[in-house]
Symmetry: C3
Subunit: 145 residues, 3 copies
């Protein structure tokens, strides 16, 4: 993965064979990113999509093994128990220009994925909510603002 920091922003280019979520979380830990959001476009294979079932309060999963265009991957990054946490949703396109999508589990790149990250200058804390079954976002005040 090639990456470059530009002040509040960073550009990450994932290469063939890299699992996006795992690679992104390692980068976030290395660069001590406590809060931000990102957008990515590119291509993926071996994608895991999730769907949050509000009745059972748990995620259902589906794996896809097909070459797909990432029309849009957007997410928020923060900390859960001091570790990087990523919440992202994806829209995928097929060779026939059909689309599907859902919450993003993970995916392996080929041929490439370009991601632009923007820090918020504060910590986006995540806390598990046993009642809803979700890991909810609590934006904390910046030390600078």
């Amino acid at each position: 993965m090639r990456s470059q920091n530009y002040g509040q922003q960073a550009v990450l280019v994932f290469e063939t064979g890299e699992p996006v979520m795992e690679t992104l979380k390692r980068w976030l830990a290395q660069h001590q990113i406590n809060g931000g959001s990102f957008t990515a476009i590119g291509g993926l294979r071996q994608v895991t999509l999730k769907y949050f079932n509000t009745t059972t309060r748990s995620y259902e999963e589906r794996e896809i093994n097909e070459q797909l265009e990432v029309l849009h991957l957007t997410g928020n990054v923060g900390l859960l128990n001091g570790q990087p946490f990523v919440h992202a949703h994806i829209t995928l396109g097929t060779r026939e220009y059909q689309t599907y999508g859902g919450p993003f589990g993970d995916g392996v790149v080929p041929p490439v994925l370009e991601l632009v990250l923007r820090r918020v200058g504060g910590t986006l804390t995540r806390r598990e909510n046993a009642e809803s079954g979700l890991t909810e976002l609590y934006p904390e005040a910046s030390r600078f603002a």
Copy 2:
């Protein structure tokens, strides 16, 4: 709704039962946001989608009462006659990972919607264009740039 300002950016977390557009416009008025753009992901029920019919020059509407993933909600905020105006488009995902979308009317959250807003540092003025039937965007020069 929980929110936090981070300089040019803000993070808003909508909670169960909150209508997104109404809640967002009230927040924009309170924080005197004259221009910016946002991206949101999460889940919605009771969504109203719109479609601008370029022949009749008016919006058609459809209401959906189903638990849906918000794969992507993106919009621009500005002022129309001095009041907050939001123009947003949404892509939704079903439990079967199918997608649909259109211009966003409104939607009620459960379980949660996370929105990141970025101000532009100037006013994005909206003016009604009787000929096109649209409320068009006129970006005004910043006082700072």
Copy 3:
């Protein structure tokens, strides 16, 4: 096309009859934008979608002549051989709220397209990779960071 610069950001409003890619590239050259990302919403007709075939290592194309909502157009801008280069993916919505999408070739606006661009403060260099058939992104260090 109406446009306004706001420091690191810019807002571009494309008007009826304008080809998006051609108009955007001309604006990028005039404003000497070497690196950034953008998001746009609006409407298009005469859209060209692309699909990168990883087996043949080339793009397949499809043209659409229909009034469509742009649910989301996102892209990265940089330089290829010193000239503006745009890599963008689009999600489109029909009057029946169905969606399709893919890599964006070009499209002609009616009725309007609103685009928000954010510079990264460095150069996003593109280089042609003969092996993969892709024009790959190499983010370069900022002179300021």
